[in-house]
Symmetry: C2
Subunit: 410 residues, 2 copies
């Protein structure tokens, strides 16, 4: 007996749940054994694996029962929240109202983003996103029934004139921004633009979701002040942090900084969705943070990723730029964003590259809320690609592009 | 500058997110240092802590990088899904269509319940629940905008005549049932009643959510056949399993068995909500399951909890039944469900017990979708209460009840 599932699924499932395109592209690259420039993931050889292992072992030598029970610390364990608070305060990222009770541990920042969206967004409401932006955020917003406005992103942040014009058109619920070394562009928002946008937020009464997973991965100067700290007492900023890019994504540990009113509601969603988090990985992460010289550790991480970036820039300059690729050098993060104006269908070219030259990247149009945008754009990740591989990847890409353009002309 | 948060939260947050009352009651009991008969949690001395520790250590001696990376196994690791499949098949719980691809690992069964509800329920739709039922399930359904019908639960399952009459009144999306040693009643649904309800499900085209966390905790005969296996090829049953009650809740590991169409949608929710699960606790759990004689382990668990149950029954018979408590002896699980007809406000009595005699239980009305029901009902958990404590708890309860009834008469 067969069930007509679309009659049993609700409208959200039938109309608004979308597969991750990045996931699909990464799967294809892996199946075809291609050299992958796709993944927004840290390089596994840079995980502090042995130190994390020791931290887990130390945790397992502690009070086991507390790790194996339901956790009463539904916001996450206090020592970890306290560590994060002190760390962020030392970095100048926090306004004075933030205490440990404003910090909520999440399963990666994805859970934070999903919770915040579930709390704020009414079906059919409009939110403003950067153009381009992180597609897994768009999936969350779409699930909850968002309509989108897109503000063009420039090297120093959103175009302020365009921002103002969009606000004239429509009321927005919130503005979602990846503030530093953005995925996919690598761009960062300047303090000056943040101030201008905070001004607009007060005037038009919208909230700001500040997503900041790449904060510590700067290869030049450190990032400018956060929206959160610039807003001060005006607590309309919800900040998302993550250990995924700087420690290890498999720990699934991120955090949200938010006013108590938001935290209280997130606690209700936590109970509904998983009752409580696991404490063992949190405790192990806390042990790792305690026993590591974090400034030194982060500095060596930046050094390694800077080498990855520089090698890929070198390869692109040598093999792909002469054929028509334009791009900017990112000052941090994992990504290089480019444009190949002769290419009208980057997905077709992406498949061609995987099949013909065993090299993979992400077509840029998937980073736009309006999918007809960015057909000639392209995102490379240098995170998981050590220098020799980066050069080889660029060589293959150049070779593929040459063949592809020749085909186009015939 | 203060923010009017109710203007920024959506309708769901403002109207449909509710605090867990059980959590509140457990907190009060703990603050007042009361002997608690509240928690639906396993007894921590029965966690296989040392074996789990060894299993974690073994996992940490394996391939660390795979545990610290984003997991490609978004449904959960294959070995664990395969173990569950074989185990359930051996127990006769599975129809023939179930493969590893129909098993989806969740963060406790709460995540499974939340996912399934997010997929199925349209705001304003009606679902049918047992009366009484698990309140944390009601919180999930309420969040998604459910309307409720309640079917009276008897010792052998829902009253079938009442079920039929409710279906005449209204179309339902699904029926949610805790099939064995139900929370809060301890009742189990007979195979005969399951067959009758499956018949109704086909006729009225609704789905069945079979929640079965207490399956292996029987103190008499094992449970009867599952809805899932009885339904056979008619795959309208979604089954929720959990390791929380039989291994350790802190592992946050449960699972869903469902048709591929549902699993595919759950995968999309997984990406949106947490990207991927942690693999380390799954791998450790799998190692534990591999290296433990599970039938023997479960048998010793049943032996221990049977002693807890028997002691509490003895205490209630001796100290509380003579004062007016009526109850039935549960054949499994963690709970004893009772009624004290002289008491009109069980919450008032619960607070009195905590303050006057330092003993805590859960007032029964919170287990009803319609909160005016069950004002004289009461739930005790014997799970975390070893025999001597159970007797002492009942003595205190008897003493409190005597005082309280005397006060009522004056």
């Amino acid at each position: 007996m067969s069930i007509k599932w679309d009659e049993h699924f609700n409208k959200k499932t039938n109309e608004r749940l979308i597969l991750s395109t990045i996931g699909e592209m990464m799967r294809l690259a892996s199946e075809e054994n291609a050299l992958s420039l796709t993944a927004g993931e840290p390089y596994d050889l840079l995980y502090p694996s042995e130190a994390l292992k020791r931290a887990f072992e130390k945790t397992l030598n502690g009070n086991l029962v507390s790790h194996f029970s339901y956790s009463n610390e539904r916001m996450g364990i206090y020592p970890l929240r306290s560590w994060i608070k002190k760390w962020m305060a030392d970095e100048g990222l926090l306004p004075s109202w933030v205490t440990e009770e404003n910090i909520f541990i999440t399963s990666g920042s994805q859970e934070g983003l999903n919770f915040v969206t579930e709390l704020l967004l009414e079906e059919g409401q409009t939110i403003l996103v950067e153009s381009p932006t992180y597609p897994e955020a768009l999936l969350v917003f779409t699930k909850e029934g968002a309509r989108f406005l897109e503000v063009p992103l420039e090297e120093d942040g959103p175009n302020i004139e365009a921002f103002k014009n969009l606000l004239k058109k429509e009321r927005i619920s919130f503005f979602y921004s990846i503030v530093n070394y953005q995925n996919p562009t690598g761009y960062s928002t300047s303090a000056q633009k943040k101030k201008a946008i905070l001004e607009l937020a007060r005037e038009h009464n919208f909230l700001i979701i500040e997503d900041d997973p790449y904060h510590h991965l700067y290869y030049d100067a450190p990032p400018e002040k956060s929206y959160l700290s610039l807003a001060g007492e005006d607590c309309r900023v919800i900040y998302l942090g993550s250990f995924s890019k700087i420690v290890a994504p498999g720990l699934r540990t991120g955090w949200v900084v938010a006013p108590k009113e938001v935290i209280d509601q997130m606690l209700k969603l936590r109970v509904l969705s998983t009752l409580c988090p696991q404490t063992l990985p949190q405790e192990a992460l806390f042990n790792f943070l305690q026993e590591t010289n974090i400034p030194e550790y982060l500095s060596s991480l930046r050094h390694a990723y800077r080498r990855h970036r520089d090698a890929m820039i070198e390869g692109l300059e040598k093999y792909v730029k002469p054929l028509g690729l334009s791009f900017q050098i990112p000052k941090g993060g994992f990504f290089i964003w480019g444009r190949i104006p002769m290419i009208k269908d980057m997905h077709d070219f992406a498949r061609f590259c995987i099949m013909e030259e065993k090299v993979a990247f992400i077509p840029g149009d998937i980073f736009f809320a309006e999918p007809s945008n960015g057909k000639d754009t392209i995102r490379f990740s240098f995170a998981k690609t050590p220098p020799e591989k980066a050069i080889e990847g660029c060589r293959r890409l150049g070779s593929a592009l040459k063949k592809y353009l020749e085909q186009l002309q015939n």
